[in-house]
């Protein structure tokens, strides 16, 4: 949890809070990226806030019989049922023994959610601080480096998950499980394995 060093006392906290509303809204905000710092199997990752539609915690996921290992089931978000995929398995981690507590809605044509283990914080970082993956080692699986789009260094080096690329991979894997005459969207619910 990122607690600013300058807000160590209550009066200082109050002053910083008030100054935030006293500043004019400037265009410099476009120079920053908002990122969600998360953890998958203990490894640090980041996801751009612009790639998601919402963050949720402890939503009930109803499991479904499916040939897709990463599909955990269905959950209700804002009045609609969406499939929930386990982000760790999509990043080539082994299946978790316990269901992930955190979920996020991805921005896509067909809504779907990604479940992950832990949420650390929201990061507001300068784009100049973003790094290329080639510059430094990442904790991502070797076969999924195409799902990462750079990295950000806070206290740790966090690879940034390329959510649009992940959507494409997911659509491809789901489509591979559908029958040839199916017209459903690729990442909507896959066909029953039977």
């Amino acid at each position: 949890m990122d607690i600013p060093a300058r807000a160590t006392t209550l009066s200082e906290l109050r002053r910083v809070f008030d100054e935030a509303f006293m500043e004019a809204v400037s265009g410099t905000r476009a120079q920053f990226d908002d990122l969600l710092a998360i953890r998958v199997r203990g490894d640090p990752y980041a996801i751009r806030l612009a790639d998601i539609d919402g963050l949720f915690v402890e939503r009930r996921v109803v499991p479904l019989p499916t040939p897709v290992p990463a599909l955990l089931g269905l959950a209700g978000f804002r009045g609609q049922m969406v499939p929930v995929y386990e982000l760790g398995q999509l990043l080539a981690y082994a299946a978790s023994l316990e269901p992930p507590r955190w979920l996020l809605m991805a921005k896509a044509r067909e809504p779907f959610a990604l479940a992950f283990d832990a949420f650390d914080a929201q990061l507001h970082v300068d784009r100049a601080q973003l790094q290329q993956l080639d510059d430094s080692p990442t904790p991502a699986r070797t076969g999924q480096t195409s799902l990462l789009a750079g990295a950000v260094r806070t206290d740790l080096l966090r690879p940034i998950i390329d959510l649009p690329a992940l959507v494409h991979v997911l659509e491809a894997s789901v489509a591979a499980t559908r029958p040839a005459n199916s017209v459903a969207h690729p990442i909507s619910l896959p066909a029953r394995s039977a």
């Binding site: 949890m1 807000a7 809070f17 509303f21 969600l36 998601i52 539609d53 963050l55 929201q122």
Partner: protein, 489 residues
């Protein structure tokens, strides 16, 4: 000779046999000499008879000579030989009768000679008387008649026969004497040679036996002297070592005596200290009882502390529950702020100020969450401290209980110590007494050891003398061996 005889017996036997031989030789010689003397006596006897015969004949010749001179001259002085011859002839006949008493033949011849002598002297006297009467012619006629001459011739024949007989006896006795002398000489010579041979044989035998027996005995004596010398040397060395050891023992016992006295003094001091310790142990017993009461008070206070700490732990758990709610609220607020930011970004320019609000709300939620975590961390530390304190307090309570039990044991131990100190006092007194007795006994032992050391020194001197005597004996035996065996070394 028997081999089991002693050398003295053998020498005595040799001397006895030699003496017997000498006695035998002496006896033989004595007999021979006796026979020789006897023979010489008879030879002398024969010579005496012959001398007497000659004397008788000479007397008759003297009487006839005096008769003739008187007849011729008429001088009375010529009658002296006649007168002495008459006595001499009578003496000779008498001696001959005595000397030849063992021979009847000679006695017969003496009788015959005596008759003839008497007849001659009668004829001579007749003529002499006639001459005295002046009848010289008549006297000459008697002479001329030849009676006297025939008597004289007969007498010469008888005496010659006697002399011949005696001469034969003399030759016979001389031969007997020579034979006796030869036999005596041979007996003495052969006996002496036999005795010499026997003495030589016995001497050689005794010499050989002497060499063998005395040599063996001297050898034994020599070896025994060497063994005695070695034994005496060992005894001297042993006595010397024993003397040294006795001196060391005496010194050690002296040190033991001094140590025993020191122990006695120490035991006395130990007894005094034990009595003082007994008093202190009794005082400590009361102190321990008061300590037990204090520990019971501490135990009660510790129970109160444990109760308070358990209450504090419960309060901390309640605070933790409240913090869980606060943390949950902060997390939900953070999620709401993030979702608000997402929604604001989708609202375009109008949502930018809302995004600022949402961001600040998220920051506040972050701070609350951080503060909550900090508080939870501190609460956890407090709970850990409380748990540790409770554990430590319970350990302390257990330690206090153990201390109480140990104090009870200490009290019991103090009583036991007091009893044992009393026993120690008695034992120290007994040790003191025993050590004094031991010191006295050690003193006596030291005196005895000193006497033994003196005896050992005397033994050492005696062993030295024995060694010297053994050496002298070895030298004497060697010299004796050289005396009987010159080639010996």
């Amino acid at each position: 000779m028997n081999h089991t005889w002693t050398f003295g017996k053998k020498v005595a036997a040799g001397f006895l046999i030699s003496s017997i031989l000498l006695v035998a030789i002496g006896a033989i010689a004595h007999q021979a000499i006796d026979e020789l003397i006897q023979t010489s006596y008879w030879v002398t006897h024969t010579y005496q008879v012959k001398e007497k015969v000659a004397n008788a004949l000479s007397s008759m010749k003297d009487a006839e000579t005096g008769q003739r001179g008187y007849l011729l001259t008429g001088e009375e002085s010529y009658l002296d030989p006649f007168n002495s011859a008459r006595d001499s002839a009578t003496t000779s006949i008498r001696d001959l009768r005595v000397l030849t008493a063992d021979s009847t033949e000679q006695q017969r011849r003496i009788d015959e000679a005596e008759k003839l002598i008497n007849a001659k002297f009668a004829e001579l006297k007749q003529t002499i008387d006639l001459r005295k009467q002046g009848q010289q012619e008549q006297a000459l006629k008697v002479v001329a008649a030849g009676v006297g001459k025939r008597t004289m011739d007969d007498l010469r024949l008888v005496l010659a026969e006697m002399d011949r007989v005696e001469h034969d006896l003399l030759k016979q006795r001389a031969a007997q004497s020579d034979a006796t002398a030869i036999r005596a000489r041979q007996s003495i010579l052969y006996g002496s040679l036999l005795c010499l041979a026997f003495a030589t044989i016995v001497g050689a035998y005794l010499t050989r036996t002497l060499n063998q027996q005395i040599g063996a005995a001297v050898g034994h004596v020599q070896s025994s002297s060497a063994e005695l010398q070695a034994a005496a040397s060992q005894q001297a060395a042993g006595a010397k070592e024993q003397s040294g050891a006795m001196a060391e023992i005496s010194t050690t016992i002296g040190e033991l005596v001094a140590t025993s006295r020191q122990i006695a003094e120490s035991a006395m001091r130990v007894a005094d200290i034990a009595e003082q310790t007994a008093v202190a142990a009794k005082t400590g017993d009361g102190t321990v009882e008061r300590g037990q009461e204090s520990i019971a008070g501490i135990r009660r206070q510790v129970d109160l502390v444990v109760d308070h700490m358990l209450d504090l732990g419960k309060k901390s758990q309640e605070i933790g529950a409240v913090l869980d709610i606060v943390g949950e609220l902060a997390e939900q607020t953070n999620i709401l702020a993030i979702n608000a930011t997402i929604e604001a970004s989708g609202a375009g320019e109008s949502g930018r100020r809302f995004a600022v609000v949402a961001d600040e709300i998220r920051k506040l939620a972050d701070r609350v969450a951080g503060a909550t975590k900090s508080i939870r961390h501190q609460i956890d530390e407090v709970r850990s401290a409380v748990n540790a304190t409770v554990m430590a307090t319970e350990s302390g309570a257990k330690a206090v209980d153990a201390g109480a039990r140990q104090f009870t044991e200490v009290a019991t131990a103090f009583k036991q110590i007091a009893n044992m100190v009393s026993m120690t006092t008695d034992a120290a007194r007994e040790i003191e007494l025993s050590t004094k007795q031991q010191a006295s006994a050690a003193e006596q032992v030291r005196t005895a050891v000193t006497d033994v050391a003196q005896t050992t020194r005397e033994t050492e001197a005696s062993s030295g003398q024995t060694l010297q005597t053994a050496s002298q004996l070895a030298g004497l035996s060697l010299e004796l061996r050289r005396l009987i065996q010159p080639q010996a070394n």
